[in-house]
């Protein structure tokens, strides 16, 4: 494992940081710099097992105030040193597996929470743990409704930085619909406060400009979120269909009535078998699970609409309980990566008219790669206009083929196929380093150039997560 050498410039930066924000908030220990050298990009798991990963942090800093962050950015701007804002590190696309040496800002010590009950708002430090926030709110009678699979390890700042979404999104929306205000520290060390309003028509929405910027524009330090009263009622439903088209058409009809079930998940035949193998009567079929929650009168009406519009056969709701119980069981990587299996998930979105075509072609393209053992998908987020597919593939690289090459080959075919079939390359994992090659396809040449120019305008010395997203 290559250990980094301490340069005079790095030494100067560390000394300066220590002077400005205090020695106890900074570490250059090898155990710390290793821990912050990568995120949860599946490729990095192979690096760990091979004990061969690059170490890029010069130092880790744990600020506990916006003022600390302002000083850090000022120093790094002056020294032209890269800065990487770090939340829970659960990103899966390498947004925090950087190439260049820099300073890691871990935000997890900024975690104050303040509820405004009258306006149904919560003000959070960016480092608040996702599950901590949701439990805290539930205890006070509220919910944010953002329940990603990474709820336990992730932070609210990470959610906003990556434009995340939760399992209950069909009712509560993506994170961009939950944010009403933001505080950001951007180079050369300026604090930008975008106050929380119910709505504001004051030019282009800068909040949306920073949401999903993955640390490339500044450090998100504070967020104001909309919250809701805890749901009064919850109804669980499950349906089986003979084919994917029937299930997808049913949900399209339901979504286009205006009903907003909190959770909708459609599993293709392979995933129905993989996730619900204990229920023999549904093997070989397409499973749809639905959770409706909120005000009891609205829930009753939505339940009726769903039952009337779903063309499948209703089955026992214990299947939904099983999903609720197992939905955070993230164990495949731990079990299979050490056995040489390459495993990942790819989430894309597409309009209803291209949904089946995209599903079939992406699966087909991944299966064509030699070494792929299986490729499957479920649909997990829905809109009146379309659907998000969440593909999973697993495989073993053929002999003489490197893990990274095999991994990238499967990714390339899946991304190319998504673009060819009218889909967007990312629904909620963001871009990171893995999806960068398709940014041009996604935004168009002019759009991508504009994004790069905007980045340069905010971050003229390119110190904020350089290399990420291709900007």
């Amino acid at each position: 494992m290559p250990l980094k050498k301490e340069s005079n410039k790095n030494k100067k930066i560390v000394e300066n940081l220590e002077k400005q924000i205090g020695k106890n908030k900074i570490s250059t220990k090898i155990s710390d710099v290793i821990s912050y050298s990568y995120d949860y990009w599946p490729i990095s798991l192979h690096w760990i097992l091979k004990k061969n990963f690059r170490i890029v942090p010069i130092a880790i800093v744990w600020p506990n105030s916006t003022e600390d962050i302002r000083k850090i950015i000022q120093i790094c701007f002056k020294e032209k040193t890269p800065v990487y804002p770090f939340g829970g590190g659960s990103g899966v696309l390498g947004a925090l597996s950087p190439e260049k040496e820099g300073i890691i800002i871990d935000l997890k010590r900024i975690r104050n929470i303040k509820i405004n009950i009258e306006n149904l708002l919560v003000e959070c430090g960016a480092g608040v743990n996702g599950h901590y926030l949701e439990s805290y709110l539930n205890n006070k009678g509220f919910t944010l409704g953002n329940i990603p699979q990474s709820l336990y390890p992730s932070t609210v700042g990470g959610w906003v930085g990556t434009k995340a979404i939760g399992q209950f999104s069909t009712r509560y929306g993506g994170i961009e619909q939950m944010v009403t205000g933001l505080e950001i520290v951007a180079p050369p060390g300026k604090v930008i406060t975008l106050k929380p309003y119910p709505r504001t028509a004051t030019g282009p929405d800068l909040r949306q400009f920073f949401i999903g910027s993955e640390g490339t524009l500044g450090v998100i330090t504070k967020i104001w979120f909309k919250i809701w009263p805890n749901p009064e009622k919850r109804v669980k439903l499950a349906f089986i269909s003979g084919n994917l088209k029937q299930a997808i058409d049913s949900i399209r009809n339901i979504m286009q009535t205006g009903a907003r079930p909190a959770v909708v998940r459609i599993y293709d035949k392979i995933e129905t078998k993989r996730h619900f193998y204990e229920n023999e009567d549904i093997i070989g079929l397409v499973l749809t699970i639905i959770i409706i929650e909120g005000n009891s009168k609205i829930v009753d009406a939505e339940t009726q609409i769903i039952k009337e519009n779903h063309q499948g056969k209703q089955v026992k709701t214990e299947i939904v309980d099983h999903w609720l119980k197992t939905r955070f069981n993230v164990k495949e990587a731990s079990e299979f990566v050490p056995m040489g299996v390459v495993f990942d998930t790819i989430e894309v979105a597409v309009g209803w008219n291209d949904a089946i075509k995209l599903y079939e072609n992406v699966i087909k393209s991944m299966k064509q790669i030699k070494g792929v053992i299986f490729a499957s998908a479920h649909a997990s987020h829905f809109y009146p206009q379309g659907i998000c597919f969440y593909f999973t593939f697993a495989g073993i690289p053929p002999v003489r083929e490197k893990v990274v090459d095999f991994y990238n080959k499967v990714w390339k075919t899946a991304m190319d196929s998504t673009v060819e079939n009218g889909g967007t390359i990312s629904h909620h994992h963001g871009i990171g380093r893995q999806k960068t090659p398709w940014m041009n396809d996604e935004l168009g040449q002019e759009g991508f150039v504009l994004l790069k120019k905007l980045k340069k305008c905010v971050d003229e010395k390119n110190i904020m997560n350089p290399g990420n997203m291709g900007v």
Binding site: K108, S135, F328, E335, P338, V341, V399
Partner: protein
């Protein structure tokens, strides 16, 4: 031949799926996890560092084991940033306790003589006196006893109460007497060995376990009752696991009181609300997540206000695990302050059932501008008794 290796590996994976071969070991699995229990880990939340997050610690442990990282005092530090609270286990898809995973690394570094000075002092005291704080404190309440054939309970107060709260020991003995139990104590009661176990010194732990097992079994009690859930964990689970069997039931005081609740003669009037802190060792190590709250509710009804984060979701006081309070006391106190601040939202009277928790909160309350009353379960029961 291209692709042959793919095909040749498939049967191995299928065998693994069918449970016929063992997969990766625990530390490897934990290393490759995205920290699915971070939310439950007080260190992960309050320290806010990847290195001391649950899977972060395993990652460093893995790299130490694989000799990627040199085993030295700087690199082993994250191994000791664990409260051994077991809260991670409740969220782990594999039901791992990070504390158990790290224990193997800790025993290895102790065997190699890589030990912090703060630990050396404790280990020296345990070896010399059988007491982590130095020469054993003898209290009047804990009189040397002679074996009485009618004795039923052997009460073991534990080192923390002996050192800091002898008044709770007296109250506990009074309580046994009021319940008409014959009680024995060991005036020179030695430490159960948990600090040595947590540090990773298995020799000292086993020496203490051997000695204590002989003495305890010699009393032939019907029940052993401890004030400290860590002592109960040692006598009930860790001793047998290491080959030392206590020949009788070992109960934590909460379990004992629950069994004898019908004999308690308590006042009916209740003039204040109280809240409680579930000790992590009782909840997770002894697997009794509800016994404490159920007991309190039975004796104090609706005046017991359930706090946010109780039962399996409890949040360690910060003083568990024997190490953080010794090598990073400011973090232990920060965790304790966080927990007490959370609890006083529910009531200014906090009942707990663990000497470490009481000690942690007594220290933390000094930083709070509010009058806070921290009571051990026995002190609370004592205050409710018809005098």
């Amino acid at each position: 031949m291209k692709g042959f290796k793919t095909l040749s590996r498939l049967p191995i994976i299928l065998k693994f799926l069918k449970g016929k071969i063992k997969g990766p070991d625990d530390i490897t699995k934990c290393t490759l996890c995205p920290n699915m229990c971070r939310n439950a880990c007080p260190v992960g939340i309050v320290d806010g560092s990847e290195t001391t997050s649950p899977s972060g610690k395993s990652k460093i442990g893995f790299l130490l084991r694989e000799n990627v990282l040199e085993k030295n005092k700087e690199n082993i530090f994250p191994m000791y940033m664990c409260l051994s609270c077991g809260c991670c286990e409740n969220y782990c898809p594999f039901n791992f306790s990070v504390s158990d995973i790290l224990h193997l690394i800790k025993t290895d570094v102790v065997e190699k003589g890589i030990i912090y000075d703060e630990f050396k002092k404790v280990l020296d005291n345990l070896e010399k006196y059988g007491y982590p704080y130095g020469p054993l404190k003898i209290h009047e309440a804990i009189k040397p006893i002679t074996i009485n054939p009618r004795q039923r309970i052997l009460y073991l107060s534990g080192c923390i109460f002996r050192e800091n709260n002898p008044e709770v020991i007296s109250k506990t003995l009074n309580l046994f007497a009021k319940l008409d139990f014959n009680v024995s104590t060991i005036s020179k009661e030695k430490c159960c060995g948990i600090p040595a176990y947590n540090i990773g010194d298995m020799k000292i732990f086993k020496d203490l376990a051997k000695n204590n097992t002989k003495i305890i079994n010699g009393f032939k009690p019907d029940i052993v009752v401890t004030s400290c859930p860590s002592c109960a964990l040692a006598y009930r689970i860790l001793y047998p696991k290491n080959g030392f069997d206590i020949n009788t039931r070992v109960l934590h005081i909460t379990e004992f009181l629950m069994e004898n609740i019908s004999y308690l003669k308590l006042k009916k009037e209740k003039n204040m609300d109280v809240t409680f802190h579930d000790p992590c060792k009782l909840v997770n190590s002894l697997k009794k997540p509800n016994v404490f709250s159920e007991f309190l509710k039975k004796i104090y009804n609706e005046n017991v206000v359930k706090p946010w984060r109780s039962g399996e979701n409890t949040f360690c006081c910060g003083y568990g695990g024997s190490s953080i309070c010794r090598i990073k006391p400011e973090l232990a106190d920060e965790i304790a302050l966080e927990r007490i601040t959370e609890l006083i939202d529910f009531s200014n009277t906090i009942i707990t059932a663990c000497p470490s928790c009481k000690l942690a909160f007594e220290n933390a309350k000094k930083s709070i501008d509010k009058e806070v009353n921290i009571l051990d379960i026995v002190e609370f029961v004592d205050s409710l008794q018809n005098k």
